[in-house]
Symmetry: C2
Subunit: 358 residues, 2 copies
């Protein structure tokens, strides 16, 4: 995937904005390089993204694609990531309409829109582009034990669950590295990260045999871009559906250090299952040695910091109290890099990595 | 994939027979349901498979495809599984020749032969069939926490490395279950197992996001076929390239019990890497609790037996001594089910599972 000029996006979230399935929309609005001119969601039309994300994000929510086009949209971005990544039937008309109106369509679904005869023919007619971010290159290489470039520090975000902020933490830490005058690099491993950074591979789409090899290759590219490389983690090592992707990242990236991401208040895994079984989130004090043991099966690595997502805690004071408590429980530097800025956490990570603790 | 009538196979191993990359050939010769009329390998032409595998396997080795056709071959099976699963250029002519001579071509390579214009056009001309065992169904389902059928016992073979006999142990244990008057079932998860059993999915080809879901689905099918379900394991949990596939099997199958397979004498992982780093095989006493910890991240499971591959030990007495030593070290029932038959090991596994140790 090559960099593109700045687009003017309308982001489709129909019925999902403000719930976690719209994490693609939120990520692109918060961190993306494109302009976002509207969110398309008839269930909340007339409201504004700033009501959820704060005054920095003044984006109107509209009910129809035509309203977004009137606001100057030149691309429709699919803003949700449903389990299994399939295209809901209800969206077909919107996508067709967009392509016929010469809007590019950007999608991270497992269902490839460009392989759909109706969509590809509409795109061919108007010259609109369909970008399927989850389509992986036909590289087909297994891992080969590539060593890291000398001077590169590779840091992987891991987590207690999926959809809790591993990408966000990696982006914030990259920013902190750059603000500290170092060369930071963000390695996108999922469709939202790719939409934000303009490169990368959605590793959950990779053939299982080549997963670790692809992660290794992504790190190689990250090491060409910077000295402090933050790899976006995926899933969790104890997730009943997604753990293989998490392990491919750990064993394929062979990170010098890991940052453990956790969302305060989360008790159950984000897992759509057919029984009433419980899949509880494990204590951080269990997850830390677990990740070190599992990484160490291939290459030693340490968890050097905890990044808490305190977005469900209303008061800053309470969030700070929980951070202090976690720091004391785990013995690791802890912070919420979104809420309180990433500088302190990055500083602690940098010290740990440079001192060779990791 | 549907059952087919019995084929008369010539198995291509050119230059690889007798080394581990020919494990597909060996597996199909030992356990397959098709007749094997010849091995095609000009480097050992004139010899006989019985020299390697014993008098039960009287299969001539020939230098050319035409000799195999004269012996009645009606299908060419690609008998090796190279790293990365690519098609060596040197074999193109043989495959083309086979298709033009109306032989079916059976392949477990990652490179799909049916997608090759030259091969597909040759097949279309003569009506020969190309079977790419590694092509997975477009099912695209994540795991959903399906519970096991009541009365089903699901046992997964795991291992200290790849290519050491996890499939073979599962096949031997299935046979022992059937010989004990129970309903055994073998669940194939790789191309060789599929060639042998005539169904299954090569899970290392599955999209990473759907790996655990596909393993779950394979177990569901296995539970329709028998009460003692032996799932073929893949890779190893500490393999630098293939560990995600291993984890997908553990978390997707949620086995009641695991059997740890190890090849006596193995010291280094089977891993083609670009440095002089060492990737040692871990002690069984470390691997046993490790597998239980990792399985238990989703569903509790126990390693209930050790299956040793003693094929590199010449004397039966020495093999027996090593088995006793391992039994004492690990505290688990241990045997080589290929060398000494699977009845004793299956009996111990059955007791452990029925007593609810697992």
């Amino acid at each position: 995937m090559r960099p593109h000029s700045i687009r003017r996006l309308v982001i489709l979230t129909e019925g999902q904005f403000g719930v976690h399935n719209a994490k693609t929309a939120i990520g692109v609005i918060r961190y993306g390089r494109d302009d976002v001119v509207a969110v398309l969601d008839s269930t909340i039309a007339g409201r504004n993204v700033s009501e959820w994300l704060g005054p920095r994000f003044d984006v109107p929510v509209v009910a129809t694609l035509d309203e977004a086009i009137a606001l100057g949209a030149d691309a429709l971005l699919i803003g949700i990531a449903p389990t299994g990544g399939r295209l809901p039937d209800a969206w077909r008309a919107t996508i067709s309409h967009a392509l016929h109106a010469h809007l590019d369509v950007l999608s991270g679904l497992h269902t490839f829109l460009a392989d759909d005869p109706e969509f590809s023919s509409a795109a061919a007619t108007t010259g609109a582009e369909i970008v399927d971010y989850r389509r992986v290159p036909d590289r087909h290489q297994t891992a080969n034990g590539r060593p890291h470039r000398s001077g590169a520090h590779v840091i992987l975000t891991v987590g207690s669950d999926c959809a809790i902020g591993k990408m966000t933490v990696a982006l914030e830490l990259e920013r902190a590295a750059n603000e500290a005058g170092l060369r930071g690099a963000f390695v996108p491993t999922g469709q939202t990260g790719m939409m934000i950074a303009g490169w990368g591979i959605s590793v959950d789409r990779e053939i299982s045999d080549f997963l670790a090899g692809t992660c290794e290759w992504l790190v190689e590219q990250g090491e060409e871009m910077g000295d402090w490389i933050f790899v976006e983690g995926q899933g969790s090592i104890d997730h009943p559906a997604y753990s293989p992707v998490t392990l491919g990242l750990i064993h394929g990236c062979t990170p010098h250090a890991m940052v453990l991401v956790h969302k305060v208040g989360l008790v159950e895994h984000d897992f759509e299952h057919i029984t009433d079984a419980s899949y509880p989130i494990k204590p951080l004090t269990e997850l830390i040695p677990l990740h070190e043991t599992i990484a160490g099966l291939v290459t030693p690595s340490r968890v050097v910091a905890v990044a808490l997502n305190t977005s469900d805690i209303a008061a800053d004071d309470e969030a700070r109290r929980i951070i202090r408590e976690t720091e004391s429980e785990t013995g690791l530097p802890t912070d919420d890099p979104v809420r309180f800025g990433p500088a302190r956490l990055f500083g602690a990570i940098r010290s740990a990595v440079e001192e060779g603790v990791a």
